[in-house]
């Protein structure tokens, strides 16, 4: 082979180098394009941005269609840490009015949550700052704005009934996979108990974005988008005007008001005092304000109407009387003597003619009378067979809704307490107790505990002559009505009539304990209660309903540490009933006195 020909052979070496190079490229291309799915997925995640569409929460109306809770637009600044590229931190901080230190902290927090998933960087930017930010946002890849809605309360009332909305915590997410970090959820009140109705269904809009985070259109013509479903509006049972009025009357006082429409079980008013403006618990100030409210010694976050438990005091005499009638241990005409303050084993706090019948005893709230009624009930199977007598009595009491949560749609209700026999066994030894031992129960003192809601329900039950509908705060969600089954008490309807007579006399009779609070032209029924309080001044209680026939409103008012039931709770209940039935209050002097009285100091 000549030298020249030998070198010519080298063309094949060179061709081979080229062929091998191209083959290596094709193998690599085959691997990344055909075999591996990885890059296809990465490319999709690169350009696809799933935008959660938060539907506005349902609006909450009062029973007449006035808005109690509405929405207003807000904007959350979201961040996808993976896409954040050396942002001009200072510039962004300036736009957001954010401390650079805090900026770093929040970015770190978002990174810890997920590099790929969006998390809230700065929540609830106002409309004004949003407009400004929107123009510059393209310069900060990885950041985008998520439209949200914030709750807004046109009236600063009923905060604890309505509840509030906050960001989900890990616990919420674990319990319901619907939620993802950054979602809002009802945290208390109606917001929580009707969360499923109010929240609607989140939608998903999938868009394509370029490397600068600019939207470039919808992904696959939007065929993978999930439409959002707006939250259902709720019609609450509350009466806005009456609630406003009740809160006004309760200002400067500690206690609660619950008013129920007896025929439906609909709660017209629920006040806990002192309360707070629900607008405090929205937006960015929520955390700060929540801490402030939870440290307030007056406990404004504590919903006394549901959670405070008191001995019912004299108001419980109504139940004791009804039980005696049902068990047949007394009749309407049964009379028991009273020695006034000298009565034994329970003294009477009122001075009145003796002996009284049942109606008179209610009218004058005679302690010895009801002790005797209670004794006849408990000792009905013999003086030593206390247990049987007590349990029978307790069964009837429980049928009024005492001893357990009573409302189907209010959260965190206290149980109250109608002690079990076992409790007394433990306390006094097995069978070591007699009717005399537990005599305090006859006048609603001792171990017995009830909530204002349960007492209001008692009032409604009597107004209904023997049944109640579980009290609730929402009557309509979206397009379906919410109703609950009637519950009969264990007391026959007819026995309610004398009790109602007695309660009527409380207002109407010359010696009635609430005679000063009689409402002009409305025949009302009521019962005072003055609850002994070992920690301070007595609690003032009042139960009432009106009108006597075909009642429209049943009410329970508790004013803590205020003294006699007739002094504070009575007039407040009376004013509210007048306002509700008549639409306006005539007794302006009483009204003014109630509104301006401050019983808890500045």
């Amino acid at each position: 082979m000549t030298r020249r020909a030998f070198f010519a052979q080298r063309q094949y070496v060179i061709i081979a180098i080229m062929v091998v190079t191209v083959v290596i490229f094709l193998v690599k291309l085959f691997y990344i394009q055909v075999l591996s799915d990885n890059y296809r997925l990465l490319s999709e995640s690169n350009v696809r941005r799933s935008l959660v569409q938060y539907p506005p929460r349902g609006i909450i109306y009062d029973r007449h269609g006035d808005k109690l809770v509405t929405n207003e637009p807000a904007y959350d600044l979201m961040v996808i840490p993976r896409q954040v590229k050396n942002p001009d931190t200072l510039e962004l901080c300036r736009l957001l009015d954010l401390d650079p230190q805090l900026f770093k902290h929040r970015l770190t927090k978002a990174r810890k949550y997920s590099m790929y998933k969006a998390s809230i960087f700065l929540e609830q930017i106002s409309k004004e700052s949003y407009g400004y930010l929107q123009e510059k946002l393209y310069r900060f890849p990885g950041f985008f704005v998520q439209p949200r809605t914030l709750r807004k309360y046109p009236y600063p009332i009923a905060a604890s009934v309505l509840g509030y909305v906050g960001e989900v915590n890990q616990n919420d997410i674990d319990k319901d996979p619907y939620y993802i970090s950054g979602d809002y959820v009802g945290k208390s009140g109606i917001e929580k108990s009707y969360e499923k109705e109010l929240r609607g269904v989140k939608g998903m809009r999938i868009v394509m974005v370029d490397v600068f985070n600019r939207e470039k259109g919808r992904f696959e013509e939007g065929q993978y988008d999930v439409p959002q479903v707006q939250g259902e509006d709720l019609i609450s049972t509350l009466d806005l005007q009456l609630q406003l009025y009740a809160e006004k009357l309760m200002q400067g006082k500690r206690g609660s008001v619950v008013a129920i429409e007896p025929s439906t079980g609909e709660i017209l008013v629920m006040v806990t005092a002192p309360g707070y403006d629900p607008n405090l618990l929205i937006g960015r100030q929520r955390t700060k304000n929540f801490a402030m409210l939870s440290q307030d010694p007056q406990k404004p976050l504590f919903n006394r109407a549901l959670q405070a438990q008191y001995p019912p005091g004299s108001t419980f005499k109504l139940v004791v009387g009804l039980t005696g009638l049902e068990e047949g241990t007394i009749t309407v005409n049964s009379r028991f003597g009273c020695n006034g303050k000298a009565s034994s084993p329970i003294a009477c706090t009122h001075s009145h003619a003796t002996p009284l019948d049942l109606i008179g005893a209610i009218e004058q709230s005679c302690n010895p009378y009801f002790w005797n009624v209670f004794r006849t009930s408990v000792d009905r199977f013999g003086y030593t067979n206390t247990r049987k007598g007590y349990n029978e009595w307790r069964r009837i009491v429980l049928s009024f809704g005492f001893g357990s949560p009573i409302s189907p749609d209010l959260l965190n209700q206290a149980n109250g307490n109608i002690p079990k026999d076992a409790y007394y066994d433990k306390y006094f030894g097995r069978n070591g107790w007699r009717s005399l031992t537990i005599r305090s129960l006859s006048i609603g003192q001792g171990e017995i505990l009830v909530t204002p809601l349960q007492l209001a329900n008692l009032s409604a039950t009597i107004a209904n002559r023997g049944y109640y509908i579980p009290p609730h705060v929402v009557k309509r969600a979206g397009d379906h009505d919410i109703g609950f089954e009637k519950k009969k008490t264990a007391v026959a309807d007819e026995y309610f009539l004398p009790i109602i007579e007695g309660m009527n006399n409380v207002f109407e009779a010359s010696h009635g304990t609430a005679r000063y609070w009689k409402i002009d032209s409305i025949s009302s029924c009521g019962k005072t209660g003055t609850v002994q309080n070992p920690h301070g001044k007595d609690h003032s209680l009042f139960l009432a309903f009106a009108p006597k026939d075909n009642p429209k409103i049943a009410i329970c008012v508790v004013v803590e540490n205020a003294g006699f039931g007739a002094t504070w709770a009575g007039p407040i209940a009376s004013l509210l009933m007048e306002k509700y039935i008549k639409g306006r209050v005539k007794r302006l002097d009483v009204e003014e006195h109630m509104i301006n009285s401050n019983l808890i100091g500045p």
Binding site: R3, F7, A8, R10, Q11, V13, I14, I15, I17, M18, V19, T21, V22, I24, F25, L26, K28, L29, F30, I32, Q33, V34, S36, N38, Y39, R40, L42, S43, E44, N46, V47, K85, M208, V209, D210, V211, F212, K216, G217
Partner: protein, 419 residues
């Protein structure tokens, strides 16, 4: 001499057809790379694809000029052209305009020219002219020195412009020299050096040196022809060891930070997908997401939404990979390979050494660009910014490759004539 009726009469149709196909495909892909929903005409001169149309038109003009030029002109004036371009390269250092860190543009009005692109065919002409002389022997030292000077001046000047990519292209002439009789040992040594370079960056240098010693010992042990060549083997070992140690120094002291990063990215040592690794990562995503037949023309999301940087120039292959898939990539690579092989086969058929050497130079330059550009886009080679011939956007580069190829086509069309 026959009367020429048509300048294209004897021109090689295969090369011309492949050239036209590649240029048109490139144009379509540039259009796709900068495509926007609010696009204007494909001839809009404010856009890359509009300008590319202009470059393509002027290239056609250049082709006619070349085809009408006497073939002898190129061999006779090769040194003149070479010196002229060298002067331009010197000039650009003085009056050049800096773009993206490289001072490699000469600006005349709104018209910008990159002399480094033109230097490729000029150097090729000079090399062909020098080695094409009769009785030249590449084995001699003096020849080697002259060759080294011809091939060395342009890359040094280009490096001075801070355009590393265009400079390293000159390494490709080793293939031409190999064909012309340079010892194959240079190719092997180059390959071994590359392997050693990568290995010593990836693993402990002592392990690399140990491995080299073991391999050489094995060669010595299995040696079957006469006495074992101890002196060359030990020499190779010492040179390798010295090389390995110098790699560390070169890497850390000589290379620029961005060059180090690019090498680290390639070797998988740097995985910062937002920083230095971003381009390659996005490029891989673009190509990898293409699948078998691609996402369809103008449907590439990676390229369309600007995830891939430099997508109409250095990363143009992403558009091909994403929108045309494996099938499209294979077609493009296949066309290039066909062109390369065709050039080599035609070069071997030349009657003059000048034409042959020039042909090999054309093939080597095209091959090197193809290998580096595509290798970079698919993550096999470090990021070096050099264009994909005929494909990438850019007037200077399209003109330069057109001139490069068509001078050869012109020479080839005269191969049956007596020169």
């Amino acid at each position: 001499m026959r009367e020429r009726k048509n300048v294209f009469q004897n021109a090689d149709k295969v090369m011309i057809v492949i050239y036209i196909l590649l240029v048109l495909m490139g144009w379509l892909n540039i259009y796709a790379a900068v495509y926007d929903d609010t696009h204007s005409s494909i001839f809009d001169l404010s856009t890359n694809y509009g300008k590319q149309a202009l470059w393509i038109g002027t290239s056609a003009l250049l082709i006619f000029l070349i085809m009408m030029t006497e073939a002898r002109f190129f061999s006779s004036f090769s040194y003149v052209i070479y010196v002229g371009i060298i002067l331009l390269l010197v000039l650009v250092l003085g009056v050049g305009r800096e773009v993206a860190g490289s001072k490699s543009w000469i600006e005349i009005g709104s018209f910008r020219l990159q002399p480094a692109e033109l230097a490729k065919f000029a150097t090729n002409l000079a090399l062909a002219a020098y080695l094409g002389r009769t009785h030249v022997n590449i084995q001699t030292l003096s020849t080697k020195v002259v060759v080294a000077i011809i091939l060395g001046i342009p890359p040094i000047l280009i490096l001075a412009q801070n355009d590393t990519g265009s400079a390293i292209v000159y390494a490709t002439f080793i293939l031409v020299l190999f064909r012309e009789g340079l010892s194959g040992g240079f190719l092997v040594a180059g390959f071994v050096a590359a392997v050693l370079f990568v290995m010593s960056l990836l693993v402990n240098q002592w392990i690399v040196i140990g491995s080299a010693a073991v391999i050489l010992a094995l060669i010595a042990w299995r040696w079957q022809r006469g006495r074992r060549p101890w002196v060359p083997l030990i020499g190779i070992f010492l040179i390798s060891a010295a090389f390995v140690f110098s790699v560390d120094y070169t890497f850390h002291k000589v290379l620029e930070p961005h060059q180090k990063e690019r090498i680290n990215v390639l070797l998988g040592k740097e995985t910062d997908l937002k920083g230095a690794g971003y381009n390659v990562h996005q490029s891989l995503i673009a190509i990898g997401s293409g699948g078998i037949v691609g996402k369809g023309y103008l449907n590439g999301t990676q390229t369309k939404y600007n995830y891939v940087p430099e997508q109409s120039t250095d990363f143009i292959f992403c558009t091909v990979g994403e929108e045309w898939g494996f099938v499209g990539s294979t077609v493009v690579l296949g066309l290039f390979l066909a062109l390369l092989i065709r050039i080599i086969l035609q070069a071997e058929r030349q009657r003059t050494a000048f034409a042959r050497i020039y042909g090999y130079g054309v093939a080597s330059i095209l091959f090197f660009h193809l290998a580096i550009n595509v290798g970079m886009a698919i993550g096999l080679l470090p990021v070096v910014g050099i264009p994909l011939p005929f494909f990438s956007y850019g007037g200077s580069s399209l003109w330069s490759f057109t001139i490069l190829l068509f001078i050869f086509i012109k020479l080839d069309s005269h191969r049956n004539e007596v020169v």
